[in-house]
C-alpha cells in the first residue's frame, strides 16, 4: 500500500535554534543534528527555512510570503523556484510534509 499523495501539502521545518548554523561569505552552513549532515544553503533557502519554522504552510503560500519578504513579485517563476527548492530541502530532510 502506498502513502496517499497530498495535494498542496503543508511544509514544516525545525525551529531556528534546533541546529547549529554559521553564516560564512553569505552562505549558511547548517549542521543537521538529526542526520549528522552539513548543508551549504544559499539564499533563498535560509529564508524559506526561517519562514516555515515560524509558520508551516504550502508551497504557494510560502512563495507569497518569501516574495513579500524579499520585495519581489510573486509570479509563476517565483512559485516554480520555491516548489523546486522545497523538494530539494525535503530530499535533504530539512523540511517535511505532515
Amino acid at each position: 500500500m502506498t502513502a496517499p499523495v497530498l495535494k498542496n501539502p503543508v511544509f514544516h521545518a525545525e525551529a531556528q535554534d534546533a541546529n547549529p548554523v554559521a553564516e560564512i561569505d553569505g552562505i549558511m552552513l547548517l549542521f543537521h543534528r538529526r542526520s549528522g549532515e552539513t548543508h551549504f544553503l544559499a539564499s533563498p533557502l535560509p529564508e524559506m527555512l526561517a519562514l516555515l519554522a515560524e509558520h508551516p504552510c504550502n508551497a504557494d503560500a510560502l512563495a507569497e510570503r518569501l516574495a513579500r519578504q524579499l520585495d519581489v513579485p510573486c509570479d509563476d517563476e517565483a512559485r516554480i523556484v520555491v516548489a523546486a527548492r522545497l523538494e530539494e530541502l525535503r530530499g535533504a530532510g530539512l523540511v517535511w510534509t505532515a
Binding site: P20, A22, D25, L29, T38
Partner: protein, 286 residues
C-alpha cells in the same frame, strides 16, 4: 610478538608484527621518540601474515589493529614498513575522537601554524619536509590535529613519507643520512622512503600552535596565487578530513572556528625553490 611502543604527539601507539624485519625498520625510524605516557598505548596496529603459512611462503602482510578495513589489500613483506605506517594511519583515522583530523601537513614558526593541504601528489609533504629543514618546525606530515576545545593545532610529527622524485630532492637538504629509512621500490604508490623529522620537531612535539594560514599547493604548472573563500575552504577541509563526520557537531564547530579565523589560498608551482619563496611571501602578509 615483536612490538614497538611509541608516542607521537598526543597519541600512544603499540605496533606489532609476526615479523622482525619491518619492526626493526620501524624501530630505526622512530629512534628518539618517547614511549607512551604511563606505558599506555591508545592505538594498536598490527601487520600479520594473510594466512598462517604466508609467514614463510611468498610472505604477504595484512593490516590489522583495533580497526580494520574489509578490503585492505595485502602487501608484499618487503613493503612491511609501509604496511606498518599505513596501519598506524588507519588506527588514527578511524580510532581517535579527541581531535579533528585534517589530511594535511603543518609547520610552525613563532607559535603559529601553516597548514598545507591538497590532493595526493600536490607536493604538500615535500614542501612541509623542506620547510622543516629551513627554519620552520615540522608539526605534521599526514594528519593535522585540531583541538575542538581550543582550536589549536597539535603536533603529530610522524616519519615523513617521501615519494618518487621528492626522495632525491630531500636528500639534498638533509645533512644526516641516518634520518632516512630504507628505500621501498615499486610499492602501490611508487618508490617510497621515510624521513625521520629532525630533533627539534621531535623534542617539541608537545607544543601546540595557533593556526594562521591554510595553503593548497599544487605541483605542476606555476599559477598566480588566489584566495579561497571561507565557505569553499570549509568544504575542501571537510572533504580531506577522515573524521569530520564521526565528530558530528564538535567537528562542525571546530571547522567553523578555523575558517572564520584563518585565511586560505592556493597556488601552483613548478619547482620547490619557487614554492618556498611563495610560502615565505604568504607568511609575511599573514
Amino acid at each position: 610478538m615483536n612490538e614497538l611502543r611509541v608516542r607521537v604527539g598526543p597519541m600512544g601507539f603499540r605496533v606489532g608484527s609476526a615479523w622482525d624485519a619491518p619492526m626493526a625498520a620501524l624501530r630505526y625510524l622512530y629512534a628518539g621518540y618517547p614511549e607512551p605516557d604511563d606505558g599506555i598505548a591508545t592505538l594498536t596496529a598490527r601487520i600479520e601474515p594473510t594466512r598462517p603459512w604466508r609467514r614463510w611462503i611468498r610472505p604477504q602482510v595484512a593490516i590489522e589493529g583495533d580497526h580494520t578495513l574489509p578490503d585492505a589489500v595485502p602487501m608484499a613483506l618487503r613493503h612491511g614498513l609501509l604496511a606498518a605506517e599505513m596501519a598506524m594511519n588507519l588506527q588514527v583515522a578511524i580510532g581517535q575522537r579527541r581531535f579533528l583530523l585534517l589530511h594535511a601537513a603543518a609547520v610552525e614558526k613563532d607559535g603559529r601554524a601553516l597548514i598545507l593541504t591538497g590532493e595526493s601528489g600536490s607536493g604538500k609533504s615535500t614542501l612541509a619536509a623542506l620547510l622543516g629543514e629551513h627554519g620552520w618546525r615540522l608539526m605534521a606530515d599526514e594528519f593535522v590535529l585540531i583541538d575542538p576545545d581550543t582550536g589549536l593545532v597539535h603536533a603529530f610529527p610522524r616519519a615523513i613519507s617521501l615519494k618518487n622524485a621528492s626522495i632525491a630532492e630531500m636528500a639534498k637538504h638533509v645533512a644526516d643520512p641516518a634520518r632516512f629509512g630504507p628505500l621501498l621500490t615499486a610499492t602501490p604508490k611508487g618508490d617510497i622512503r621515510h624521513l625521520r623529522p629532525n630533533a627539534d620537531a621531535i623534542a617539541r612535539m608537545d607544543e601546540p600552535a595557533i593556526p594562521a594560514l591554510v595553503l593548497f599547493p599544487l605541483f605542476g604548472v606555476a599559477t598566480d596565487p588566489t584566495g579561497i573563500g571561507r565557505a569553499e575552504l570549509f568544504a575542501r577541509l571537510t572533504q580531506g578530513s577522515p573524521n569530520y563526520i564521526a565528530l558530528g557537531e564538535r567537528g562542525f564547530a571546530t571547522l567553523v572556528r578555523l575558517v572564520q579565523t584563518v585565511p586560505g589560498a592556493m597556488f601552483g608551482y613548478g619547482d620547490t625553490a619557487a614554492a618556498l619563496d611563495l610560502v615565505g611571501r604568504f607568511w609575511a602578509e599573514t
